[in-house]
Symmetry: C2
Subunit: 347 residues, 2 copies
């Protein structure tokens, strides 16, 4: 198996990518293709003691870089030698089985769409983000690829998210919830109210609505929402956790006894930090594109990159793409009937 | 000044309401009208040592109760003697200057709308919720009254939220942000992208977008969003803070030294808890209705009720309603031009 890695992606340059790739090549018995500026990558490998490439690591030279401030679609169209574009094209041509990137997630989505296309029947691919919870992990999608969604998109997210939790976390019938503002299925916004009635028609284990206060309990395996709400929820979870830690630290610093106490309780805090560390959860798959593509967050360390590669390999092994394609084909008449019904309601 | 209190509202019945009212009547030199079942209220007052009513406390008998599971509009229409309906009618008839309720927020909004109407020019009243942050407090609106919004609604929320932060927190030019999914003003969903261009035309101190990760930093005084996103954000902040504390406790319990440490650091944790205690921030005003109306959360204690009454009194004193009415009148041509422009864009 070959995994293409966007080897200069992320905030920390080559190092965490190369280290993660080396570890994956060694432990997972797969090949990693480092995609990026060859000179920079060779230099990094040399610094790490690999003047000669290990036999299951190769390099594909891709000297261009995506301008983060620019429009991803324009960037991906005009820069054929940008590492992320090259990664997607390697997968399309069958020269890699999957790609992993810690670079700009918008660019990764565009590159995957342009290079690999969508799985037949999928209207909108989504970013599916594993989110740390009290009990373990929940998958939230869409994490930000589609700011405005229609009911059919959310229904497809539910199907794809369930498939992911089955394949990666071995949950036989993942529970599915829709993010909303009340337990009653009559509450919510237009999108949610028009999605809920069809959730029980698509073969997922639908459990009803999930309110904001229950997002992080871990009671629901798959939480669907539009990409606007999803992105706010994900970033807020990150931000609020950080703010709380800062508040606790601020108050501890004011009290000498509390400083001592915090030292004694250090192990407990570290355990919480580890438990909520997104690096453990193997990155966020772009679900619905026609090939395995995993994005890892910009601050990924080598451990996060290793886990993302591991997840990518697992999805390839388990034929995640084939599974979604089969589900989409089987659900085609159902989705068509739902769209027709919603279209009539709106008219 | 007279404040009507929905005296059986909230999860804990009469006690916190009556205690909060007694404190307010004593310390704030105002009259509190307890609205609810008279027998129950007299019993509670008797238990608390007030067999005779203090002279600035009165009771208005309102024996009906709102069924939380039912449609608020139906409930408020059919139950003229429900305490929340009576509260709103007291304000309309000038027999009270404001009302406070810890009951069902949807019912409070409906009762206020039916009883008091909207301020002229306001299209959609909103729930404005003070949210604890690292630096202090930010006002988020809409907190859940309007699940689907149009740009004009968000623009009006910005004006009303700014007026609130001026009046209650003495901030001369409150900073205003719009909740979105990127710093770039070209990102966001349809609603946000169509609202942003007009934010600088309405006389508020607009600072741009606020991302999920910055919701709780306190860098922005007023954060506007639709009521669907707002409600999710507010409930998530509550839920996530709770989840984090549970996680920390779980890990501390596993480690004897950490248990000792937590004891030593107790004061710091308590300070964080106090700082993030919503009871301190005086409840959430229903902005845009034609009269001062404050809702307090269901788990309000007497301190929360006291603070909500205090805020209500302050808004009356500072002529909050007159201020919004004047701003709406002055902005009438601007809002009309914006609506026309958006209407043309959509057509």
């Amino acid at each position: 198996m070959k995994i293409a890695l966007d080897a200069l992606g992320g905030d920390f340059g080559a190092k965490p990518n190369v280290l993660g790739a080396l570890k994956a090549a060694k432990e997972l018995k797969l090949e990693v293709i480092l995609v990026g500026n060859e000179a920079v990558l060779r230099e990094e490998l040399k610094t790490l003691g690999y003047a000669d490439l290990p036999k299951n690591i190769s390099i594909v030279h891709a000297p261009q870089t995506i301008d983060m401030g620019a429009e991803p679609a324009k960037e991906c169209r005009s820069k054929k030698n940008a590492s992320i574009v090259v990664c997607a094209n390697l997968v399309r041509r069958g020269q890699a089985d999957a790609f992993v990137s810690a670079g700009h997630s918008g660019a990764a989505m565009v590159a995957a769409l342009f290079g690999m296309g969508r799985i037949k029947g999928v209207q909108r691919p989504a970013i599916a983000t594993p989110m740390p919870t009290y009990k373990g992990v929940s998958l939230l999608l869409d994490g930000g690829a589609n700011a405005d969604c229609k009911p059919i998109h959310l229904l497809q997210f539910a199907v794809m998210g369930s498939a992911y939790m089955q394949k990666v976390f071995d949950i036989p019938a993942p529970s599915v919830g829709i993010l909303s503002i009340g337990e009653e299925e009559t509450k919510g916004n237009f999108l949610v109210k028009h999605t809920i009635p069809h959730m029980r028609e698509i073969g997922v284990n639908f459990k009803g609505t999930v309110e904001g206060r229950d997002v992080n309990t871990g009671d629901t395996d798959v939480i669907v929402c539009d990409g606007f709400v999803g992105n706010i929820v994900l970033k807020m979870a990150e931000g609020l956790a950080k703010t709380m830690i800062q508040m606790i630290k601020r108050e501890i610093k004011k009290r000498p006894l509390a400083v001592l106490g915090a030292l004694l309780a250090k192990g407990a805090f570290k355990a919480v930090k580890n438990h909520t560390n997104p690096d453990c959860y193997g990155g966020a798959p772009l679900v619905g594109v026609n090939g395995v593509a995993i994005i890892s967050h910009g601050k990924s360390n080598d451990f996060a990159i290793f886990n993302a590669i591991k997840t990518a390999a697992r999805l390839v092994e388990k034929d995640f793409i084939g599974d979604i394609a089969a589900k989409m084909a089987a659900l085609k008449p159902t989705f068509e009937a739902i769209e027709k019904e919603i279209h009539q309601e709106e008219a």
